[in-house]
Symmetry: C2
Subunit: 400 residues, 2 copies
Amino acid sequence: MATKDERLREIIRHAYANAPAFTQLMDGAGVTPDDIQSVADLPKIPVTSKDELVQQQRANPPFGGWLAVPPHTLRRIFISPGPIFDPQGPEHLFLQEGRAEAFEAVGIGQGDIVINTFLYHLVPAGILLDDALAAAGATVVPTGPGNTEYQAQIAMGLHVTGYVGTPSFLKIILDKMAEMGIPKEAVPFKKAVFSAEPYPQSLRDIFEGEYGMRTAQTYATADLGVIAYEEPGQPGLRVSNQLIVEVVDPESGQPVPTGEVGHVVVTTFNKTYPLIRLGTGDLSAFTDETHTRLKGWMGRVGDAIKVRGMFLHPLQLKGAVASIPGTGNAQAIVRRPDVRDEVTLKVEFSGEDADREAVAEKIRAAVTAACRLKIDTVELVAPGSIPADARTVVDERTWD
Amino acid sequence: MATKDERLREIIRHAYANAPAFTQLMDGAGVTPDDIQSVADLPKIPVTSKDELVQQQRANPPFGGWLAVPPHTLRRIFISPGPIFDPQGPEHLFLQEGRAEAFEAVGIGQGDIVINTFLYHLVPAGILLDDALAAAGATVVPTGPGNTEYQAQIAMGLHVTGYVGTPSFLKIILDKMAEMGIPKEAVPFKKAVFSAEPYPQSLRDIFEGEYGMRTAQTYATADLGVIAYEEPGQPGLRVSNQLIVEVVDPESGQPVPTGEVGHVVVTTFNKTYPLIRLGTGDLSAFTDETHTRLKGWMGRVGDAIKVRGMFLHPLQLKGAVASIPGTGNAQAIVRRPDVRDEVTLKVEFSGEDADREAVAEKIRAAVTAACRLKIDTVELVAPGSIPADARTVVDERTWD
């Protein structure tokens, strides 16, 4: 097995030779592939933020110059909110290995029937976790998100032992089961793997304490796959062997000392889509000197935030609002009453007052469609009541 | 390569030894595996209708005694409306071969980027066609159904050359593109494979005549995979080599002569889920003496009909309506204005009149959730206005 430094040298050479965006990035910074001999040399390469990736894809569609193989060799192209095109080649097998580690951690394997509640189309989460569950030997029930009562019926009817999805949605399913009169001890779930949102201690107390489940969270992104995963009984999240993680100063891009909070920057070994030093926009800290464990998710660097497991991008939100005549500035406020994310959208409106409800509904439909995320409430407000420099997306959620 | 008779003898022995439902069926009919030496012997085995399969699954969950492998070897369990559990084992590779044949028929292969608009979770269509597209060498964009404008944007943005889904939905996407000001010659689709609903000549004239696409329909079910597929320029649908198709008298289960309309009965070689003589509920006719070509879909035997590619089951519909207090008999009427299926549901209602709109909305939500199919309109009618013996689902669509 090649060392990380060997694998890094290989992917850097490959990306420099085949991915025009990376060639340009290196040339612009005056760095050559030979300058990168080990992980310690990575900070010589500028960080590419997720917002820059979106802009590069827009300027040079569909992959912004980061695709390093002939397009016809792609297995799939996913579309994440942004919109961001995520190419999938054979190397996603590496990501699957990373994911299989997380399933082994809670003991999901042969004999388990698992509902996978992530979305199976457009975004990669559902299909890739499905493949990883198969690699772990489990039988998958591809339920996708939503349909809470149906999920509960399926879980009972098939005696489903495992759950994959967000912690929030498992709580909603368990509440529905209680409402259906199913006693806690009859709930079949024994093991759960979470992703796409933080896993608060309050929910862990319920799942592990009240229901006796084994649970583990993973930290993953659509571009990169599983970055780190929890091992039960161990602190923090273990960094996957399938990529290189740095925690850096958001301004300088230079590594911060162990224990200090910084921007999580990831380098993949994925030859199809060799993202080198991609800034995830997430904040975290290393908990040990070997840089193999992250403290967990500690906030965001950029403007986009995740709601119900999907990114809400300010630019996309503004574009959708602007498509409705009479609208001005807009601001989304995300709250989390009773462990479910709720989005209220305030929109300045200067049009005729006659049919404000219809206008609000049009805005709701346009934003829901563009951002692939349901907006719960739209409030029309007077022009000028949202300052021009206000944050477009305000996160008022707490995760305890 | 084994002959069909050899493969049949093998699957009969396997099913008799491992699938209790089949053992019971054979014993009850006084037939032994030795009695089945060739395809010509199949009529000795009683036909199992789709409704019987649903009842067997209910009585003996989840697979009604038809699973012939240890449950832990299953790759996935799908859930089709009914509800019917569809187990997937490694043998679904055979189905993929069947599907790949259909893609080759329109020339979908390496270099094609294809949107797959079938649902990727719950039902098998999306994932299995995704695998088959990969087997054909194409790049898949797993868009799933719905989101017409987004589908149009993706098709333009990625220059998507292929479409997989229902003919109706392709028409809706093309209409949306026209509405967006995209001229016909700029529409990137060149090849389309359809399934889940009939493909009328009127739409073929549009897709092939006005847009210059190569198109082919497939005839497939969730339990069996691709049964037959169209080869451009050839009459009728070619029966897949991966299964045995009979066309029989719906009453007697005995084969009808070539050219006569009868019930399509299918026997799989699937060792995981060896459905032997499953009645699909569909009507068709063989067009040649070698029984390798079907005339196409010619109607239904049972009560369940397909709407927008999903089965609408009368029992499930009635159960959902009955869950709302004050309701009586119900009847769904399916129409097809402007090539899109529309469902109007009439429900007898004897409750207080005060909030009839809210009651109608409750019924709509319950039926939509239970049947996994959107009900367009609910009409509350006076008690007694739907005769007790009326058909629960009335199909008023035409397919020209």
